[in-house]
Symmetry: C2
Subunit: 430 residues, 2 copies
């Protein structure tokens, strides 16, 4: 049987998962594919530590470039992460016409244009299924299954750490700091959690999804990003009273020749499928013109789920190489359109506002007056005896309004003497 | 730009959707694929009726064989349905090495072996994404995305008609007959609803999914099938009290070298993703050894969602043909294993039993005695004042038990003088 040689760059958690997956299911893959995937070399700076899988000592090297250059390596699997050496090695492999599989969302979000162009120029395959959604085959769905569709919107829960923290805050009534600390102790959050909880990881993934949906690499710095740090558990409780759950969403939404790409905590209706996605799970809801709503759900991270997708990409490449059909598909298939990113100030959506007035008569009238003057109409108001940090908030759900109007209204409200704390503003979607 | 010629067999709802999708998004598909999909011929017995799409009169013919033979037709799209002329035309196309796209689940469930062998022998492509799940790319996920995985189980809500009826029964408290009649009036159920509500449509889809998961065409007559006809709304209500919702599930579950393939109304926990799938939507939950749980959700039927998947298959074939890479993938990739279908009598699962005793003292002790004697242990019991058809039922949830033991126990219970009606038995999964 024909073989496809795999060179692994990075022998961390996912790398070890890929090795384990191959050892466990390599024979079955060979049956399915008619091509045998064979691990040839593994490069890592640390080739001493035990990863829980057994590999021949001569397979390991600290020289990653040698793995890329090895003529027995047909597919380079980049699991190093970051945009330094990983970028160099990916470009080097593609320049040789070798196939590349990567799970590196940051690299693709920041250097996608350069990498996709290199793949195109050398008619090389680049697959990046594991860069978004771990074990969920969402990249394949967008790039292939929905190829006949114009994407209207994508809503994604793309970060397991954030979703786990939000689930704990809601179900156990934990404060953000407590939930984060618990998540860190359980290994669901990094010691330095910023990449996750400040929304940057989700933003990288949003850039990749938007590029696939609209056929052009998108600039990562155009994405509006707000994380979940400092989210108050009171807001999760008020949201529930209105029939919503708060999720950190990546939102990609087409509006004419503009596309919104934003990441922020978002109220989603309790009866939506996205509201049912709890704990470390991820999900992506795609709305497109022919298929309508489709949703993809599963483990967004983890050793074996991510390895599943890396190996699924290798399976695709094996099928291509068996038929001498490399570059059967562009990295980011063009759609014939050029969309620009809509500034967040131009976004129209519904808002959740928690205002913190001193308990003075007439203050609610002041709030509604300020909102009304800017054309922001109110759907419902909640003012209850429960206090947040010692004060009784007013919670307002608005009808659809313009972000810049809401910004201005909040600025005006927060300048009132009768307002004790900055207004909390969250957005409502789906 | 290179073109790929499409010949459409069957100009019904989905056929018209394919034409509409091509008219709407054909240019975009050409950009994405680098190959232009072009509709060449349409065959139907009726070439007069208005389908809501405009096609050139000379494109229409009543001679389906001529469409298959047309040298300008590279892909034959079979949307006739059934196992008569559809089977002949599919085999004829494959025999010529032409690519085939079909949405015909009955054909594949009953004649899959013959059709897949013909594709193999002629190195022809056969894609059948729309045969299961309408707009949901579940076939692609199983055949490609999860190629590195051993599938442990699949649970599918695969029939929108049944799911719609069950949702109406639960949310509106309708009796089965009323909900069915409403569904028929709204066009969600056929005038002759048997294929849907008696579970056969779901069974056909289960056979296709099981074949893909385990790498071998499976005999459709081995599937245990129970539909939702005559399901009592009381059972939906009792299920809810225990924390479950009733869904018609296709269940495919591996146990060593056997595989269970069954279709029946099933209690699923309210907090499972499957319980959130309401109305005409479909979903498939796959559990596999590397990816763990993944779920795919969307419109299980309908003109444009089904067309989306048909056109997605055409996109794949276009990419293959552009690289001279036909038959890049087997219809049903082998896994190197041979599994047999487990008889339903050997299934072990949890049960919901609704027993209908006359209100006599000691009858509950008799029931529990009969169950206990067969090793069926009880997890919970509910006996409430509410009556069903004038009687007060006893509802029992069991721990895991053997189907044949439960059969025998029910037979013994139903023979008791104190039992007024046959026991209702449902299974609990997920």
């Amino acid at each position: 049987m024909k073989e496809i040689g795999i060179g692994l760059l990075g022998f961390g958690t996912v790398g070890a998962g890929v090795v384990e997956g191959l050892q466990q299911n390599g024979d079955m893959m060979a049956e399915r594919l008619g091509v045998r995937p064979v691990l040839r070399r593994i490069a890592d700076l640390d080739i001493e530590s035990d990863r829980g899988v057994t590999v021949a000592a001569e397979m390991l090297t600290t020289d990653a470039a040698a793995v890329v250059d090895d003529p027995q390596v047909d597919v380079v699997v980049e699991l190093i992460g970051g945009t330094g050496i990983a970028r160099e090695l990916v470009l080097k492999a593609l320049a040789q016409g070798k196939a590349v599989v990567t799970a590196n969302k940051k690299l693709l979000a920041e250097y996608g244009s350069e990498i996709y162009a290199m793949a195109e120029a050398n008619q090389a395959d680049i697959y990046f299924g594991a860069s978004v959604g771990g074990g969920i085959p969402i990249i394949k769905a967008l790039r292939e299954g929905l190829a006949a569709n114009r994407v209207e919107s994508i809503y994604g829960i793309l970060n397991g750490t954030c979703n786990y923290i939000l689930t704990c805050m809601e179900t156990q009534g934990q404060a953000f700091d407590v939930a984060l600390k618990d998540a860190q102790e359980l290994g669901f959050a990094e010691a330095d959690p910023s990449l996750d909880i400040d929304g940057f990881d989700t933003a990288h993934k949003a850039v990749i999804l938007a590029s696939l949906a609209y056929g052009a690499p998108l600039s990562a710095d155009k994405v509006h990003v707000e994380g979940i740090r400092g989210l108050h558990k009171a807001d999760l409780e008020y949201a529930l009273e209105f029939g919503y759950r708060i999720k950190l969403l990546a939102i990609i939404k087409r509006d004419g020749d503009q596309v919104e790409v934003r990441v922020h905590p978002t109220l989603v209706p309790l009866d939506s499928m996205l509201a049912s996605v709890n704990g470390v799970f991820n999900a992506v809801m795609v709305d497109s013109d022919l298929a309508a709503e489709t949703l993809y759900y599963g483990s967004g991270a983890g050793r074996l789920p991510t390895a599943s997708t890396v190996l699924g990409d290798i399976a695709d490449i094996a099928r291509n190489q068996a038929k001498d059909a490399s570059h059967r598909m562009s990295a980011v298939p063009r759609t014939g359109e050029t969309l620009s990113v809509k500034p967040v100030s131009d976004v129209r959506t519904r808002y959740y506002l928690r205002l913190m007035p001193a308990d003075k008569p007439g203050v609610l009238a002041q709030f509604t007056g300020i909102l009304g003057a800017r054309g922001i109409s109110i759907e419902s108001v909640l003012q209850k005896g429960d206090s947040v940090d010692g004060h009784v908030p007013v919670v307002i759900i608005t009808h659809e309004a313009l972000e810049s109007d809401v910004d201005a209204a909040i600025q005006e409200i927060d300048a009132l003497d009768a307002v004790l704390e900055g207004t909390v503003r969250l957005r409502i979607e789906v």
